[in-house]
Amino acid sequence: MTVLTTHNLVRIYQNGGVPVPAVRGVDFTVEAGEFVAIMGPSGSGKSTLVHMLGGLDVRTSGEIWLDGKRVDTLSESAWAVLRRRKIGFVFQFYNLVTNMSVADNVELPALLAGMSPRESRERREYLLAELGLTERAYAAPAELSGGEQQRVALARALANGPRLLLADEPTGNLDSRNTRDVLRLLGEVHGQGQTIVVVTHDAKVASKADRVVTLSDGMIVDDASMRRRRRPPGSAGDVVELRG
């Protein structure tokens, strides 16, 4: 089943009267349960693309279909409802609610999506524990490091069990241990059937995906299914071998 489709999606910004084509005709489909990574050089249109997919930016032309319904024509308020129910979004620059605790930041989307207070709390506890943030639950976002904020943003995006998780550089600020926690959680929810589209420069994240889509200059230049290699390497000693 298809969760997301775009047809000839275009976004042209105006920069002081000069048109800047950021996304130039993208045809893109994501099946239910798929984990897709989007890569590409800086400025190639990755954020612009996922912002449009999440209704946070308006397309110039083309179509976006979510769960069989056309959504690029929706009003801002209709998008807000859709996001509450169906989409989890992790921004490149977090966007946490500053005057709420970490716990409330994560629980709020679950409550807004109609989960009971108890379910919401359990979901929050599970997500924060997975990301090693249990101890920070009652802190304010301003008291957290960049990496911690980033993980809270991921927990928040997953709180309502969204149909589609959109994440823009979810490990951009993380050291290797925290990256590992994020990867484990992404792998876990993916295993539970979560559909994921993640923008990343991090090859460790991309290597977890089922598909890697590469953008260049606002267009898809590669769409690679990451099929398993015939023979996984045995031990760390083979790593040298692996690198030739």
Partner: protein
């Protein structure tokens, strides 16, 4: 140097000195320029292997010129080289040569080469990620080795992105 010479001959037949000049022109300072003797030795070996053939071209008031051209077997060897992903720490050297020479041969375009190499790196990364997951968390040395390999791969991928930005238009 065998494969770069084949690649240059895929573009057009040439004599030894022209090949030396073409190598210098193509790689500029990026590659140490071979001397003419090395080029003739290599061409001799390629001829013995059946990858190139040579014809004598008469010149009006100078000695005959030996012009080399690519055979079908040579073209096959070249295609094989271009088509396989490149292994190892010499990755950059060899891959870079493929990348620079690709448009000359018309065998593959640069975007296709970059895409293939990226896929290869990503599948190596997947192997490393799985290996890390299967490794005993107490085995610090093993994990560090894997992390080192991971960082090298990430650097290779970042560099590939730079190639994509600058060489593919």
């Amino acid at each position: 140097m065998r494969l770069p010479l084949l690649a240059l001959l895929a573009k057009e037949p040439a004599h030894g000195y022209e090949l030396k000049q073409a190598l210098e022109q193509t790689f500029g300072g990026a590659y140490p320029s071979p001397n003419i003797g090395q080029i003739y030795v290599t061409l001799g070996r390629l001829e013995k292997d059946g990858y190139v053939r040579v014809v004598d071209v008469e010149q009006s008031n100078r000695p005959n010129k030996k012009v080399y051209f690519l055979t079908a077997a040579g073209r096959e060897a070249l295609e094989e080289w271009v088509d396989e992903p490149t292994e190892g720490p010499r990755v950059r050297d060899e891959f870079f040569m493929k990348l620079v020479l690709a448009p000359l041969t018309g065998i593959a375009d640069r975007m296709a080469l970059i895409n293939r190499q990226r896929r290869h790196y990503l599948s190596l990364m997947r192997d490393l990620t799985e290996l890390a997951e299967r490794t005993d968390p107490g085995d610090r040395v093993a994990l560090l080795l894997i992390e080192g390999a991971t960082l090298h791969l990430q650097a290779d991928l970042d560099w590939l992105e730079r190639c994509q930005e600058d060489l593919v238009t």
